[in-house]
């Protein structure tokens, strides 16, 4: 048997800008998405959807569709009444949860509401037949705006709750009345965060396959949460959970929109049982606009109390959350995250928050990149600028004055959180240096003299990541990992944090490679199949690495111990260490490689005392706290005085996400996040008319930023490790979006401040800015 001498310490991979191992297949068209699944005798479903936002269904004529070529079945709400309702996983005291049938029964509540489903031999036949389904509606008055929905006399979305109130929530922290009584100044502002459409590149899609003999349902679906989909769809269909297998192949983007359980997932599972054949449904882009959850939808009323020197004393916030017609999985929980985040990274201990969730005849809102935290960050960062303007204090200075100080961590917020670690001034100072702030202000003053509209916007954001400890998360907040060292020494990681673009196949392999002293090429990361992966919560809330990665880390620690034990047997020594991929006898210097040790662990000729054969460890890691990343984004913008167009001249992002496992992936996350933040700040808006018709229903009407519309992003970082997990990581999936929109809007308001402009609601379209310039001039 060959023995190898332990080499020098292998170079660490954690911290290296490794290219993503998943990318070659993703960018060469060789990856498998749901639409790439083809099964024997598979049928196709097309869904008939309501063109009305509110209407009674008087009759549905399906005969013509049934007789259409290739059609094997047509179902309506009457057929599916026994299928359980689409679940709401969040709970609040007094929450009103309307029953949400997978197909409408008797009444429709939003444009796009599924009314019937046609199953045919191919997709085109299904769609042609769906057009033949005649639904006779009696239109009813609809309401599409959350404030109008709450006004007296508004059309009731659900007749049983004529006030359209879906829920209310109140939180008090500290003594807000005293704070406002003692304030020198109180600034108030209504701030909206408009409805957005998440717009994953891959729309949703489901393939369902029923094996009647085994009573086994295989469900392929594009989701962020395969295990939760399994548990909940099994419940909806009355199946045993262990006879439902959810397979999530590649997921082409989610941004929270696939952190959900949708009617179509259960519906396809039900159809597959009915027709005894596999069935596929792929959402069209138009359906995606109408029927995949929307994000944001806030109207916020802020009041900020402060001393004349700029010290913030207290914050009052009233949130009106546009719920839509139903609660999807987490709808009511999203604005509660805004409340948790409302003080930002400022030390004020006095807050009061009230939320009213309003039903509207629109698609439900739910988690979209940042989920409640971008709204809150936008609010507080706008308010701090408004306060700075009121007191004529520099916006950087007023922030420095109010930051939680470095010696205050762990810091208990008025909203009940414990900020883990922070150094809030560091990224601000770094960003100010990068833009050469003093000189920049001088240039701005000079430019103004020449009639140019230049603005500087600062956003010092904080966020709640690594969601979350189980008591704070509707379905449990832990994450699982199984690490299996195969007999050959190759390493397989099965993670419950099913990724959809986060690069976990690379980052988790980096963690394992360092811990075991092997190459990333020896590590395979498996995810997205409930029959292979133990269980999992999923990927959202910037939790993949901080929680899922930590579970991997702890499983690896178990295995390192076991490797040492098996190595000790092979080396016939009690005094061994495991390093650089070898177990080394400290006395003789003899060593055994990981493949040799792994082979002996499975061959099991001689077992260490009290040790089972094999090298497998499963860990379910429960985090003791959230993590709290932070950073500073500075935007320099210039407005075209003729057209009102906002041009971002500079974008500096200094993000602190704790320890950095793969800075290349982090940069990618920050860039993508900023693209979505700029999208909200400048262009994107889901528009419903007064009758509940979605007007921005196509990419020609909904302005998702294209690559050429993006500024150059100067990305920098500071590093403040998190004490919450042994990796010291905090999470970065949402940071770009959360930090971005207030920086952009603050810069534009700053540019227009000579006109007395104090606030502008997003999106800052050229038309809106042009009107402000026209009025001002």
């Amino acid at each position: 048997m060959a023995t190898t001498i332990a080499g020098v310490e292998k170079e660490k991979l954690v911290g290296k800008r490794l290219r993503r191992r998943e990318d070659p297949r993703l960018i060469t068209g060789t990856a498998t998405y749901v639409d790439d699944i083809h099964l024997e005798d598979m049928q196709y479903a097309a869904i008939v959807r309501s063109p009305h936002a509110a209407a009674r269904i008087l009759s549905i004529e399906i005969a013509a569709a049934q007789n259409s070529p290739g059609v094997i079945a047509v179902f309506t709400g009457k057929d599916t009444e026994k299928v359980g309702g689409v679940p709401c996983g969040a709970s609040l005291p007094g929450l009103r949860v309307p029953h949400h049938n997978v197909l409408a029964v008797g009444r429709v509540y939003f444009v796009g509401h599924p009314v019937a489903v046609v199953v045919a031999k191919d997709r085109y036949m299904a769609q042609d037949a769906a057009d033949l389904v005649e639904v006779n509606y009696e239109p009813l008055p609809a309401v599409a705006d959350p404030e109008k929905a709450l006004a007296p006399g508004a059309a009731p979305v659900h007749p049983e709750w004529p006030d359209n109130v879906a829920f209310t929530f109140h939180q008090d922290g500290g003594d807000v009345d005293k704070a406002f009584a003692e304030a020198d100044v109180v600034v108030k502002q209504r701030i909206t965060s408009q409805r957005l459409i998440p717009m994953a590149m891959e729309t949703r899609g489901v393939v369902a396959e029923w094996h009647g003999a085994d009573r086994q349902l295989n469900l392929y679906t594009s989701t962020q949460i395969p295990h939760l989909v399994r548990t909940l769809v099994a419940t909806m269909l009355g199946l045993d959970e262990n006879r439902v297998r959810v397979i999530t192949p590649e997921v082409g983007g989610g941004f929270g929109s696939k952190l959900n359980v949708y009617a179509e997932e259960a519906l396809m599972g039900w159809i597959a049982q009915k027709i005894q054949k596999p069935v596929k449904w792929i959402e069209t882009r138009r359906e995606n606009f109408l029927c995949t959850i929307h994000g944001r939808g806030h109207v916020d009323y802020y009041e900020l109390a402060a001393k004349r020197d700029g010290t913030i004393l207290g914050i009052k916030l009233k949130i009106i959350q546009d719920v839509g017609a139903y609660h999807q999985l987490l709808t009511p929980a999203i604005p509660t995250l805004s409340v948790l985040m409302m003080p930002g990274i400022y030390k004020t201990q006095n807050i009061r928050a009230d939320i009213v969730g309003a039903f509207t005849n629109c698609m439900p809102t739910d988690a979209y990149r940042g989920a409640g935290r971008p709204e809150a960050t936008h609010g507080i960062e706008r308010m701090v600028d408004i306060l700075a303007d009121e007191l004529q204090i520099d916006p950087a200075e007023i922030r420095l004055k109010n930051f939680v100080a470095n010696d205050q961590f762990p810091f208990h917020t008025a909203t009940g959180l414990m900020y883990d670690s922070g150094n809030y001034a560091a990224p601000l100072k770094k960003a100010l240096d990068l833009v050469d702030y003093g000189k920049l202000r001088q240039e701005q003053a000079d430019a103004r003299k020449q009639g140019k509209w230049i603005g500087i916007g600062i956003s010092t954001y904080g966020e709640i990541c690594a969601i979350g400890p189980s008591p704070a998360t509707p379905a449990g907040g832990w994450e699982s990992a199984t690490v299996k060292i195969e007999p050959s020494g190759k390493v397989t990681i099965m993670t419950g944090a099913c990724p959809h673009g986060q690069g976990e196949e690379t980052t988790f392999a980096q963690i394992a490679a360092d811990e075991l002293g092997i190459s990333v090429d020896d590590v395979l990361v498996v995810r997205g199949d409930t029959s292979i992966v133990q269980y999992g919560i999923g990927t959202f809330g910037s939790r993949g690495t901080a929680i899922g990665g930590t579970a991997v880390y702890f499983a690896l620690q178990d295995l390192k111990e076991k490797i040492k034990k098996f190595g000790a047997v092979l080396l016939e020594s009690d005094d061994v260490t495991f390093s650089g991929g070898n177990v080394v006898c400290n006395k003789t210097g003899q060593s055994k490689s990981l493949p040799e040790v792994a082979a002996s662990a499975y061959r099991a000729m001689k077992l260490p005392p009290n040790t089972e054969p094999g090298l497998v460890s499963t860990r379910f890691w429960e985090p003791p706290n959230f993590t709290f990343p932070f950073g500073t984004h500075i935007v320099v913008s210039e407005i075209d005085g003729q057209t009102g167009e906002v041009k971002i001249r500079r974008y500096v992002a200094v993000d602190d996400c704790g320890n950095r496992i793969n800075p290349l992936i982090i940069d990618g996350q920050v860039h993508g996040g900023i693209a979505q933040g700029i999208g909200q700040a400048l262009w994107e808006q889901a528009v419903y008319d007064d009758n509940g018709q979605l007007l921005s229903g196509e990419l020609t009407d909904y302005a998702v930023p294209r690559a050429h519309m993006m500024p150059w992003i100067e990305s920098e970082h500071t590093t403040t490790p998190s004490p919450v997990n042994p990796l010291g990581v905090k999470g970065v999936g949402e940071a770009g979006t959360i930090g971005c929109s207030p920086a952009v809007v603050n810069s534009v308001v700053d540019a227009l401040s000579p006109l007395g402009v104090r606030h502008i609601d997003m999106p800052l379209t050229p038309e809106k800015i042009w009107h402000i310039l026209s009025k001002g001039a």
């Binding site: 063109p51 936002a53 444009v111 138009r286 018709q693 020609t700």
Partner: protein, 145 residues
């Protein structure tokens, strides 16, 4: 969406009024009209093909005429639905004699659309409606000759 406008016809108001209630003439004048039949006094059923940007489809519709005040005004109520969604319209038409012995027809109305036609076609609706109405009056004028 509010719509309004006016068009000239080279016939006196009495004739113009009569033409606009004649199913045969209407069938020829309504752009995209594939069938039009009288179902009741002042009620018609119509099939109309409409193209709006990337959307096209046949609308099954009902037309109702109300508030008849010959020859100077009447109300037109249109309801149609089809693959691209639905369309509802309600308009008041005024007919006035002009100096040349012709008629000026002016209209004010409200048009509501829903479904895909709203989600996808809203931007183009205003322009399309104007074109369709202009075509209607041009064809009506042709029928008058």
């Amino acid at each position: 969406m509010k719509i309004s406008g006016s068009h000239m016809l080279a016939v006196p108001p009495e004739r113009a009024y009569q033409m606009m209630q004649d199913p045969d003439i209407l069938a020829r004048a309504v752009p995209g009209c594939e069938a039009l039949e009288k179902t009741d006094e002042n009620e018609y059923r119509m099939k109309m093909k409409m193209v709006l940007a990337s959307l096209s489809g046949v609308f099954d519709g009902k037309i109702r005429i109300a508030d008849l005040n010959p020859p100077s005004s009447f109300r037109l109520i249109v309801e149609g639905s089809g693959r691209p969604g639905f369309i509802k319209g309600d308009g008041l038409l005024h007919l006035a004699a002009n100096a040349n012995g012709g008629t000026e027809v002016s209209y004010h109305g409200d048009v509501q659309v829903g479904g895909t036609i709203a989600a996808v076609g809203q931007r183009l609706l205003d322009g399309t409606a104007k074109i369709l109405i202009r075509k209607f009056f041009e064809r009506l004028a042709a029928c008058a000759n």
